[in-house]
């Protein structure tokens, strides 16, 4: 990319810690949107609450910064009300896999045309360092004083078990490759999960930049249309593969299956009430003369 990125926003003061992995995600997302040739007025970012969820305040686009855990239903409805918009739901791992877990399950089943970006720092950042659903066993925090006892949630296998139409993992420390993955996810027609491994330099002293570098590698020669292979690779835990695990083309999207956009793609806000049709419907309740 050359020149000014249209998604750049002058921000007085970014609320993230210096060195945080969120900066990489922000940079990658802006670059992806720009490289896809989108304009800020075409893009809506929907987030929850947390450090990751502050991202929409740091780039130029429409945004809905809602409640902790609730980005996906909001994003699903926005897309369905106006499919011309490019809608990105993004937030933290606690937000999306913890509080928002039920929406995660059912958004995948619905398959709205969204990019779903999760900043996976394996910790609750904003509330100062409690375990998140992806924290490793044994991870000690001020709340989990004896260490995490629960099995960590693997978002990729989970999504694949629900037949998600696009599943990928990226690493915030590698902006160029993350840009490539994000672009595919945003372009993908349907629900697209991108779980981004993101070091939290303040509260996660285990899963650091160095740890992620050591523990990750990129998928190569992997067939993204093979769900079984995808599940197998996503189950790996010795080292964590990065890249696109699965991508299904041609699946019906939520907004597509509503049938509302078959004849024309006018967004709902431009569609007036059909008073004649309503009147006719009411007539069916009148006593036959």
């Amino acid at each position: 990319m050359m020149g000014k990125n249209p998604f750049d926003l002058e921000v007085e003061d970014i609320a993230w810690c210096p060195g945080c992995g969120n900066f990489g995600i922000l940079a990658a997302l802006k670059q992806s949107l720009a490289e896809l040739g989108l304009a800020p007025t075409e893009v809506v970012l929907v987030s929850g609450i947390g450090q990751a969820a502050k991202l929409p305040h740091y780039l130029a686009a429409h945004f809905f910064n809602g409640l902790h855990g609730r980005a996906l239903p909001v994003a699903t409805a926005i897309k369905a009300a106006n499919p011309a918009l490019t809608v990105v739901a993004e937030s933290g791992d606690g937000d999306m896999y913890g509080e928002g877990g039920n929406h995660f399950l059912h958004a995948i089943r619905r398959n709205p045309d969204l990019a779903h970006i999760v900043h996976n720092n394996m910790v609750y950042g904003l509330t100062k360092g409690q375990a998140s659903p992806t924290s490793s066993r044994g991870f000690q925090t001020p709340l989990q004083v004896r260490g995490v006892a629960s099995e960590p949630l693997n978002p990729l296998t989970l999504a694949l078990s629900l037949r998600a139409s696009f599943v990928a993992r990226a690493f915030a420390g590698d902006i160029p490759r993350t840009v490539e993955i994000l672009k595919q996810a945003i372009r993908h027609k349907g629900y697209a999960l991108v779980d981004i491994l993101q070091p939290c330099v303040t509260f996660n002293r285990v899963n650091t930049f160095g740890w992620f570098r050591k523990m990750t590698y990129y998928l190569e020669g992997h067939d993204v249309t093979d769900p079984e292979a995808a599940y197998r690779r996503a189950s790996e835990s010795d080292r964590l593969p990065l890249g696109v695990f699965f991508a299904a083309a041609g699946r019906a999207t939520f907004e597509g299956s509503t049938g509302l956009y078959e004849e024309h793609t006018t967004p709902l806000f431009r569609r007036p009430v059909d008073a004649a049709r309503l009147g006719a419907l009411i007539e069916t309740f009148r006593r036959a003369p």
């Binding site: 945004f63 239903p73 409805a77 929406h103 569609r271």
Partner: protein, 574 residues
């Protein structure tokens, strides 16, 4: 409901009783259709158990020469499809009630008359057809024209396979004959004065009225998680809405539904969720989000008895306090509570305009009684002049939370104009970005609260029923409107009037004087603690002389309200 024969009263109260799955609703629909064809006014209401088969349910069917639009405990004639029902209905049977059934055991009030329900059903093809037989018998007793009944059967089973329709026709026909015989024998006589067709000729349940009102209000997005008694609104819109471009989606839970509603409004659509108390409680946090982001929101809160799961298929006005307190923090909201289908339609429609123009959450309080009852309409429904959405085309530099004197900022939507639409759950600046500027915090709180001003201007005054300047005033809200109206008519007193609120929050200041002028305010409410009474005390300092409360899961009946008020007036020496 005053004394005299039903002929003199010009009305006839039928009670249909049986198990879930025995098709009481078919009898209800079939006879409603038939009597309406003949020009009579029909009201029907249901009380039923939370189960799919068995148990013991009943339906009230009131047939009137003039308007009948309220729940009544008087029964002229009961038809009992299942013997178990009888003891449960005891309170609704009078000495003069005729009880039709098949081998019923006498137990308490009323006169039993054997009718061969089961035999006729078997002859028509099986136990399944007992409902059509029953409808036929009643129609026969009434002395209605056979072709009207046939038409009604055909209408009720339209779309079903021909053989089934034929069997039902046969069943109804044999019932009709049995009914005629009964009538001719002189053992039953339930003639009615001739019909005086009233009003609109429209016949709607509360559910249908609210769903149609939502359509008139421009609703094009419905998110819900099924919950009685709200589900009917959603299924109505699913069935009838698609052609009108309405999207109906079942959410994974109520929190998802509520957040989808906000997403829809943010993008310029008009979303609605419908739920009951428990589901609404789950939406509580999202109500607060609606207020903070100033994103409009419409929710139907279909009340049923609580706490928790309570009595899921019954009625109560028990969730007002919940609706008033739902959501953390401080913000304006609107609570509307229709009293009949006309208001159901008008207020559902109005909800969308209020939410849109003031950018606040609007909650429509209905209840099982209103939703599941069918009324003949008296006033017309306003369908002309579709609403004009209060959204603007934005220009670059647009600020979603521009500080304005009214507190309302022009609302843009993504995809229309050059501006960026940013909304935020945190305290924010005019552009929607997070702020910790504590001076700005005060400005934003004040901005949001200033909307109370616009809401006050738009507040819907309470409706005065009965004689002007009466000293005794029954005060009610929501679904009790027609019950209280009829009770007043029965009592026919000059010292008693009623005031009905269809907007319960913010209270319509215009009605305050009317209430303050009353010497003896009497609260009539379908709950155990008098929640609306508390609200009126809080805001207007009303001191209640009497409270008429009901909370067993059934609606008030006209008779209960009338006798309750009579007792109070007597006690007052009035």
């Amino acid at each position: 409901m005053s004394g005299g024969s039903n002929f003199e009263r010009g009305e006839w109260n039928l009670l249909l009783a049986g198990e879930a799955g025995q098709g009481l609703q078919v009898v209800e629909a079939l006879l409603s259709e038939a009597f309406r064809q003949e020009g009579y006014c029909v009201f029907s209401g249901q009380e039923f158990m939370s189960r799919i088969r068995g148990g013991s349910n009943s339906t009230l069917l009131r047939i009137g020469s003039g308007p009948v639009r309220a729940w009544s405990d008087r029964t002229d004639l009961a038809i009992v499809f299942d013997g178990k029902a009888l003891s449960r209905l005891e309170k609704r049977l009078q000495a003069e009630t005729l009880i039709l059934g098949d081998g019923l055991q006498k137990a308490g009030r009323g006169r039993i008359l054997d009718v061969p329900l089961r035999r006729l059903a078997q002859e028509a093809g099986g136990a399944l057809f007992v409902n059509s037989v029953g409808a036929g018998i009643l129609w026969g007793i009434f002395g209605g024209r056979p072709e009207v009944l046939d038409n009604a059967v055909r209408a009720s089973f339209s779309g079903k396979e021909a053989a089934l329709v034929e069997k039902n026709l046969a069943a109804a026909g044999s019932g009709l004959e049995a009914g005629r015989k009964l009538k001719d024998s002189g053992r039953v006589s339930l003639a009615l004065a001739g019909p005086a067709a009233v009003g609109e000729g429209l016949h709607l349940s509360g559910t249908e009225a609210i769903a149609l009102g939502a359509m008139a209000g421009g609703c094009n997005f419905v998110f819900s998680y099924p919950m009685s008694p709200a589900t009917g609104i959603v299924t109505f819109l699913a069935r009838h809405g698609h052609d009108s471009g309405i999207l109906v989606e079942q959410a994974e839970d109520e929190i998802g539904a509520a957040n989808m509603v906000l997403g829809a409004w943010y993008a310029g659509a008009r979303g609605m969720a419908a739920t009951s108390g428990g589901g609404f409680a789950l939406m509580s946090e999202t109500i607060s989000l609606s207020a903070m982001t100033e994103t409009p929101m419409v929710v139907v809160l279909a009340q049923r008895p609580g706490p928790a799961t309570g009595l899921p298929t019954r009625t109560e006005q028990g969730d007002l306090q919940l609706a008033l307190g739902a959501g953390h923090g401080e913000f304006p909201r609107v609570l509307l509570a229709p009293g009949n289908p006309e208001q159901g339609f008008a207020l559902a429609r109005e909800s969308f305009d209020l939410a849109d123009s003031c950018q606040v959450p609007v909650i429509l309080l209905a209840d099982q009684y209103l939703l599941d009852s069918h009324f003949d309409l008296i006033a017309p429904l306003r369908t002309e002049a579709p609403p004009q959405a209060a959204i603007v085309e934005t220009t670059a530099g647009y600020r979603r939370y521009l500080l304005t004197p009214s507190g309302i900022s022009p609302r843009g939507v993504p995809g229309w104009g050059e501006g960026l639409i940013g909304v935020d759950s945190d305290e924010h600046d005019e552009s929607g970005h997070i702020t910790e500027d504590l001076e700005l915090r005060i400005k934003m709180v004040d901005k949001r609260l200033r909307k109370f001003g616009s809401l006050a201007e738009k507040a819907i005054p309470a409706e005065w029923l009965g004689p002007e300047g009466a000293s005794h005033l029954a005060v009610c809200w929501g679904s009790t409107l027609e019950i209280v109206r009829e009770a007043l008519a029965c009592l026919g007193r000059q010292d008693l009037a009623a005031l009905h609120f269809s907007q319960v929050f913010p209270l319509p200041e215009a009605s305050r004087q009317q209430l303050e002028r009353a010497k003896c305010p009497i609260l009539v409410e379908g709950n155990a603690t008098g929640q609306f009474g508390v609200l009126l005390t809080q805001h207007w300092g009303v001191r209640w002389r009497h409270r008429l409360l009901k909370y067993n899961g059934l609606p008030f009946s006209v008779e209960e309200v009338a006798s309750g008020l009579r007792r109070i007036l007597q006690g007052e020496g009035a």
